[in-house]
Every structure is written in C-alpha cells, then in structure tokens.
Symmetry: C2
Subunit: 156 residues, 2 copies
Amino acid sequence: MAANGDPRPCSIADALAVVGEKYSLLVLREVCLGNGRFDQLVRNIGAPRDVLSSRLRRLVDAGILTKRAYSERPQRFEYRPTQAGLELEPVLMTLKEWGDRHIRGGVNLPMMVEHICGHELVPLVTCRSCGKPVHHEDLTAHPQAEGWTVTGPTAA
Amino acid sequence: MAANGDPRPCSIADALAVVGEKYSLLVLREVCLGNGRFDQLVRNIGAPRDVLSSRLRRLVDAGILTKRAYSERPQRFEYRPTQAGLELEPVLMTLKEWGDRHIRGGVNLPMMVEHICGHELVPLVTCRSCGKPVHHEDLTAHPQAEGWTVTGPTAA
DNA sequence: GAGGAGGGTTGGATTTTCAAACTCACGGAG
DNA sequence: CTCCGTGAGTTTGAAAATCCAACCCTCCTC
C-alpha cells in the first residue's frame, strides 16, 4: 500500500486544477465563440469583474488563452484560445451534450452547434484505437503509482 | 439585442452548476473506479470531509450518484454512479487525455485506462453524424435565445 | 469639457474552504 | 463489561475566495 495521505495522482485532477475553478470553462466557451473581450465576458458569463480578471490571468499563465491588443490607442485587449485551449473544446462540447440530455431533458436547448458536415454536432466519445463509443463497462483503470488501487483493498 | 444582464443560457453552464464545484468531478472519478465509500473518497481525493459531505448530497440530489447501504448494523454506505453519472465518464476521460498531453506533457502518466478492445483508451471526440473528429474550425455555434450572438455586435 | 466605452482595481460584507477535533453506532479483543 | 478501532459523517473557528458596487485611467466623440 502506498504512503497515503496524498490524494490520487491523476491528470483529471491536474486538468481541473487549471480549468476547474468557477467560470474558467465558461470563459473558454466564450473565447472559443469569439467573444474574447472583457466586457463581453462579464456580460455573457455573469461573473464578477474581479474574479474574471483573476481567471483570465490564470488561464493566460497556464497557456490556455493569450491576451492580444486589437487596438493600440486606445489600448483594447482581446483574449483568444491557444492550441491547448482549442483542444479543450471537445470537452466543452461533450459536457454540453450531457447537459442537453440530462439537465435540459433534450428540449428547449439554448444553443446549437453545427458541424461542417451539415448536421447538428452531437459529440460522441470514441476509442481512438478501435473507433467504438466509450462505455463505462468497457473500461479498466490501471493506476500507475504504487499502492493505488482501482477498487480499494476493502471493495465488495 | 436581448435583454442582457443575464448570462448566456447554455447547457455547459447548466452542467457546471451541478458538477462544476471543486471536487465534484473527482468524486465522480472515484465512484466510477468503484471507490464509493466516504473514507476512501476523503483519502483518494484529498477533500475536507465537510466539503465532501456537501458535494455528495448535491450529487445525489442531482441524480448523478445514489447512496446505498452495503451493510445494515453497522450502517455503512457506498455511493455509486447512476446512468447519468456513468454518462459523464466520457467527459472525464476526455479531460484526462487533455491533461495527459497538456499538463503532464505526455510522460510519466499516473493512470492508464484500458479499453475492452485491448488497447489503451485514448478518447477521441467525434461527430455522431459523420464520424469525423471534432475540431474547432469545423464548428459553427447558433445560440437560440434572442439577441445572443456568436461573435458579438462589436467583433472584429 | 462632458459623457461614454473599454479594461480593469479597490473595499468591505458575505460565503466557502480548510483542518482538526468531535460525535455516534457498532463490532471485536481482552 | 470496558476499551479500542472503523465508518460516516458533524462541529468549530480561522483563513481564503466570492460577490457587488464603486471607483480609476485612458482614450474618443460630441
């Protein structure tokens, strides 16, 4: 058994440490939509300006957003996603789809995203190796750190 | 233009209102791994017990987890994912994959998930209609609520 | 030179978080 | 029977984050 007292080492936790604070993913949503200006973000997200300011700094520091001047004199800025930020968009879309079904109940959806193929985007998470959709019962986790278990030493 | 002052209506925001608080997705991770007992959750997540207690209540209320007694006398409980909870697992896996690449830099990964096909699970988000991988540049957003724009009235 | 707009910062009240200690119910060892 | 340990939380009090409104500064237009 591992020296515990430390939480499980995990990239999900690592990712959430960067983008898991309140509003961070909504900032990314807006920025991916092209609404990267401070006042747009405040309005569209509904976040306090100071918190937003802090999140933007953090996301820029983490390499998920960049801050660009779209005008000198008067100095005006715009936040845009980096490649890393853009690569989070599938996570956002997958979360949206879950929310559409499980919270909105599939009706009265407030936003539609169209794929270039001409249809509404309904994301499907697949296995890159075999191409099949990912289902819980097809997965087996292997924690790499010593002492970490999947079902715990006391599991049923 | 819409009567603004309200944030953008959006299923991503709705979803995050339920699973976006600190530790909530880590609870789901553990529960999906089969570690659904209170003390396991405390240890594996590293969350304060009171916060965890509050998150568990919320996730159960939201229909993402269920609380089951695995023993009467002494009463002992276990949290398990509902169908809605299980359907969030692809989001978790996609986030893990992003973290693997962008935070861990693709090396020294603390956890591996194996797909039933025999290979390591590397999730790929695809369009359900055409099957192609989802990329930012292939997407067009259509907000349904009146007055909401994609690029904003003042966009470049 | 008055009034915006954009992009923030500051101040103070309210909430959350945190860590450790505590509770309660039971089961087993001595 | 008494003491110890386990599981599942609750309580407590200090530290940190959030919220909101107000303010600031620079430029631009009227």
